[in-house]
Symmetry: C2
Subunit: 184 residues, 2 copies
C-alpha cells in the first residue's frame, strides 16, 4: 500500500473521471477523495486544476497516437482487409474517453486542437485506405469523410449498449456499398 502518490495517479484518476462523467467531473477535491488523500497532495504535484487538465489531455494524446491505426497496420492485409479491421476494432472499442474529449473540445481550445489533430490523422489514414481501393482522390476523400462522420455519430449518439460482437447484416451492406468501385 504505497500511500505516496505521484502525478501518474492523479492523471489516471483524471482520465477515469473524464471518461466516466466528462471534464466537469474532474475536480481536485473529488479526485482527492477518490484517491484517499486531500487537496494538499494535489497542489503539491500540480500548480492548479488547469495543469491537471493539460496533463490529462497530453496523456490522451500520447495514448491516441499509437492508435487504432497501429492496430490495423499490425494485421497486415490489403486495403479492403484493413478497412474491415478498422471497422471491427473501432466498433468494439469503448469510445467514452474520445467522446468526452470531443465534448470538452466544444468549450476548450486546447482540447479542440488536440482532437482536431487526431481527426486529421485518422481521416488521412482512412482516405489512404480508400485510395488503395483504386478510388479517385475525391471519391476517396468523400468516402473517408462519410465513414469518419458516421463513426463519430455512432459514438456520440448512444454508446453501443451492447458492443455488438458479430458483424450484423446491416454492417455488411454498408461495408460493401462503401467498398464498391464501379470503375474497376
Amino acid at each position: 500500500m504505497s500511500k505516496r502518490l505521484g502525478k501518474r495517479e492523479w492523471i489516471d484518476a483524471g482520465l477515469k473521471a473524464l471518461a466516466a462523467q466528462g471534464v466537469d467531473a474532474v475536480r481536485v477535491e473529488v479526485l482527492a477523495k477518490a484517491l484517499g488523500v486531500t487537496k494538499g497532495s494535489f497542489y503539491w504535484h500540480f500548480k492548479n486544476r488547469n495543469a491537471l487538465l493539460e496533463a490529462v489531455l497530453d496523456a490522451w494524446k500520447a495514448r491516441a497516437t499509437n492508435d487504432v491505426i497501429a492496430q490495423v497496420e499490425e494485421r497486415n492485409g490489403d486495403a479492403r482487409a484493413r478497412l474491415r479491421s478498422l471497422f471491427t476494432i473501432v466498433l468494439e472499442s469503448d469510445g467514452r474517453l474520445d467522446r468526452e474529449i470531443r465534448a470538452w473540445a466544444a468549450k476548450d481550445s486546447a482540447a479542440l486542437a488536440a482532437i482536431e489533430h487526431i481527426d486529421r490523422r485518422r481521416l488521412a489514414y482512412l482516405e489512404s485506405l480508400f485510395l488503395g481501393l483504386d478510388f479517385t482522390p475525391i471519391e476517396a476523400a468523400a468516402r473517408a469523410r462519410l465513414v469518419y462522420h458516421a463513426l463519430i455519430g455512432q459514438f456520440t449518439m448512444g454508446l453501443p449498449a451492447k458492443p455488438q460482437s458479430r458483424p450484423s447484416k446491416q454492417f455488411e451492406i454498408i461495408f460493401e456499398m462503401l467498398v464498391r468501385n464501379n470503375k474497376t
Copy 2:
C-alpha cells in the same frame, strides 16, 4: 420597455444560453443578469432551476417536432428529391441547439429520452425515404443509420465553419452512392 417578464422570456434566454454554451451555462443568476432582473423574478415564475430546464427541453421538443421532416415534405418530390432536400436543409441548418441537447443527454435522462424520441422519428423517416427508392427493408435501414450517424458526426465534430452553400463534389459522390440501387 416592457419590464415585466413571463416564463417565455426565461425559456428563450435558457434556449439561447443552451445553444451557445451548453446546459451548464443556463444558470439562474446568469440569465437574470442577462435579462436585467434578479433571481427574485426567476423564483416567482419557476420552482427551481430544474423546472426551467424541463421547460427548455419541452420548448425544444415542440420545436423539433415540426421539424426538418415537415420542411422536406412541403417540397413534395419523389423519394430521391426528398432525400436531397433533406440533406441540403440539414446541412444548411445551425445545429448548435441539437448538439448541446445531445451533449446534455449524456448526463440527463430527461434530455436523453427527448433526443432518443426525435432520433427514432428521424431515423424512421429516413428509412421510409430509402424504402421509397426500392431498397429492401434491411438495406433501407442500413442506409438510414449510416446517413443519420454521418449527419450527427458532421455536427458534433466541428460545426460547419462555413455552412457551405453550394453542394460540393464530395456531396454528389456520396449522394449517388447512397441512392444507387443495384437491383432495379
